[in-house]
Amino acid sequence: MKCDHEVDDDEGASRPVAGLARLRDVDPPPSLVAGVMRRLAEPRPPSLWRWLRRPWVIQLRLSPLSASGLALGMALAVGLAVRLPRAPKAPIPSASASASASASASVSDSTPPRAAAPVRVRFHLQAKGARRVSLVGTFNQWGADGIVLDPVSDGTTFAGTIELPPGTYEYMFVVDGRWVTDPAAEERRDDGFGRQNALLRL
């Protein structure tokens, strides 16, 4: 390529200044990594982007008449849904953190060998005092928000049910931002970062 200069710098008249690549050999300060992690832990002012992405609360105010109409409509919808014929429920396997740890294996055995029929899997974890427990894994590409588990009435357990096609999955729980391996998982696999993912075979 020609311009007012020779610009084919790798083969033309212009070559890198001798020794310039050696300037790459710098040792970063030993405090750099710790400094970054410390800054990450500090509260930072909210950015516009974060403000836009924060959860919004939408309040709907209805007059007594419209509220009655809405309730009637919902009751009709529920009534219709109940009257519709439903397919028999498949058994729900469980990948759990408590006493039903063997449930996933037993359900795998009991699941009929239908090709690619989705299997309902119930995940639960005892996490006393936790505010938010979510589920992430290969089934949702370790998705950012995960699948939020609901608190169960005992006040210490969080649970949720999802449908998965037969296969092998890795997953973890995220408890208030902290990644936790399912303590009841029968199988685990190193994640390459010093922790273990729980393994679920369906």
Binding site: V7, D8, D9, L20, L32, V33, G35, R39, L40, R50
Partner: protein, 215 residues
Amino acid sequence: MTLDAGSPVGGTDAAGASGRDAKTAARDDEESRLIARCVAGDAESFRPLVQRYQRLVFSVALRMLGGRAEAEDVAQQAFVDAYDALDRFRGEGRSHAFSTWLVRIAINRAKDVLKSKRWTEEPLDRDVGGAEASFAHSPSDPEVETLRGEDQRRLEAALARVPIKYREVLILKDVEEMPYEEIRVVLNLPITTLKIRVVRGRAMMQKLLTDGGGR
């Protein structure tokens, strides 16, 4: 946990390309998983990424700014900025890799610092060998300075005297040896412009070194 520090960032030669491609793909995949964890709120998963790229980010910041303290501050802030924006990061292809994105943030941060100091950009055809050229670099650590070779000191001083818009390209092309495609993404400039700046930047460096302006 420490990960393999990949350096230089990219590569263009053919030798061993397939092996490196596989290694690069594995590294990108590993980074994607770490990034997904960070976005899910696991800040600790960011540590291996910082460890992996601290040299690269610090080196770029140091060559842009000259002083180690400022460079460390800019490098740290660049990592924090990157962390805060991870949910917007879309790594698509090698030239859009996490490292490329990180360097872009670091360069922009360094430019912000330079702007705040009102270090003005010299005109395109300025004779940088002139006596009026000002040093952007002031050696800060005597112990380190004595350990460095005379040649390296001259190179550092000469590079610090090259105007910013040429210096940033030289840092990425000749110091970090990044391919043009990645530099194009980092600086958001056409490759033709980059090549012209590389040629001119190198000529300025040669002139500074020949005239003794790098001392």
